[in-house]
Amino acid sequence: MKRIYIFVFIFSIAFTPLFAADFGATLSGNYLTENLSTTSPGNRIDNFVGIFAPWLSAPIGKADFYVSAGVQFDYTGDSNNMIPWEDRMSVIPELYKLELSARLSDSIDIRAGRIFWQDPSRLVARGSFDGADILYDMGRARVGVAAFYTGLLYSDTASINVSPTDPKQMYYVAPFDINDFANTYFAPRRALTILHGEFSGFPYARGTTFAGLMAQFDLSKADEKFHTQYLLLRHTMSYKRFDLKLAGVAGMENTNADGIRFAFATSVECGMRLPTPVNDRFSLGAKWASGEGPNTAAFFPVVMEEQSRVLKPYFSGIMALAARYEVRLHHALAAEVHGQYFFRTDTDTFFDSGIEKDFYSLGMELGGSLLWVPFSDLSLTFGGGAFIPRTGAAMDTFAPVRWSINIGTIFSL
């Protein structure tokens, strides 16, 4: 009997903060239809993803705790019925966020758990990671140190880059199979350590500079590990209606086969808020990532982020020129349209089955999206894009236009 009282006492103490908690759930659905075929205009893929994700937030002393986990229901079909029925549906559990954040003193903040984080340049690593980030506020500057591990993340969401020496690079990686959970669920194993800083008013009053040093450690089962190091920089500036964003990365890799090699990436964006009655902005930008060459290695981002909706190149061996127009028509309605033109920076890194010639220009992609938030707990998105192969010298001139349309909604309970 005593054990029951002790258990209830400990249980109450442990969960007392939860009586102060807030909780809820989000229901989201996304329908995507696309034709990415390089040969047939009638080969359509339809995909529906539904997510139910309960969440809980609670104060624990002076710290804040937040957890969100849920289940994703995924259905994929195609117009030619090529996908077997047993492969069309999957149910995927995921821990979306688990964060403990606290102010340790007037100038030291810590976040730990599964948290959203992005590197100072925003070109190498962006997304949810497991680890901790400690920030020290010095007034005009903030410096921090962070460490993360990727091996427990869900592979499809995390999109962790597979190193060139990993056997998974060579073979087809099966989609998630709940009967083979351990081998199909988790992302490639990496450890990241970062020293980073934010410097307001540097090197001039209107500018802000972000800098960092990052090391990526390959913890995969590959016989030869692929470790990389990065110098990360980003600078932002705004003046009246104009804004400027510059970013650059210098990466270093060291392998037995090739020794020490360097890779680079950069991006620039110039924007202007237009003198119109609505809240709108026009911007021009460019991004470049090195490919395999005599003097450079292919840029190796830790997270493989798709650079467009239809062509979907990862940021390695690629260059893109972009123009974008964004407008907020109403406090609940926003829209954007954009055009991008892609080049490859080598002939090895970016693979697409529509590439037929040794030229570097890949073609143009146009796209747009609409966001409507009619209520605080309901949002609707509509987006689409089209990639036009005949605008690229490397592509098959007679290949059909590839397109993608998606409709999404998020409802908060």
């Binding site: 009586f19 605080s376 707990d377 309970l413």
Partner: protein
């Protein structure tokens, strides 16, 4: 201390809605770490111009609490400390702020709290069960006044120009 003085001065010289509240009452409110349900009702309904003119002190507090209780905007006893969730519900009703789908269907205080956070009428570190200090209550009232004032101005503008909201 400077922040508290600035908040006090702002509300003393702000919209006519708060003209009925004396400087002494406001000063006492600013020193309160946990506002009572009756105290919250007194200032929220006063700011929303729902109280009869000329009332102040205990009379205003009783009238406001009774009105809020009658309308089911408050369920706590008059002397109980009010939490952020219940304060949000009181403010949403007093200022007739429109909520989301879940608030419209359930009229639950938890969704009133969420709406106020979404609209940034509640700022800083906040939890639904958190006690409300006097300073925080005045900040929320000020945000609600500003929010409803902007909406009224937009409605007037659109009416005059024939625009659609």
């Amino acid at each position: 201390m400077l922040n508290r003085l600035l908040v006090l001065i702002f509300f003393l010289f702000s919209a006519l809605a708060l003209s009925a509240q004396t400087a002494a009452e406001l000063d006492r409110l600013l020193e309160t770490e946990a506002v009572t349900a009756a105290g919250a009702a007194r200032f929220v309904l006063g700011a929303a111009e729902l109280l009869p003119p000329g009332l102040s002190g205990a009379a205003a507090e009783n009238a406001a609490y009774n009105m809020a209780r009658t309308n089911r905007w408050i369920t706590k006893e008059a002397a109980d400390p009010i939490n952020l969730r219940d304060a949000a519900f009181l403010v949403m009703n007093a200022f007739e702020i429109r909520g989301g789908i879940m608030y419209s269907f359930t009229r639950a205080p938890r969704y009133a709290y969420r709406e106020m956070v979404y609209r940034r009428l509640i700022q800083g570190r906040a939890y639904p069960s958190m006690k409300v200090s006097g300073e925080q209550l005045l900040q929320i009232i000020g945000s609600a006044l500003s929010h409803t004032g902007e909406n009224e101005l937009m409605d007037a503008l659109l009416q005059n120009t024939g625009g659609i909201r």
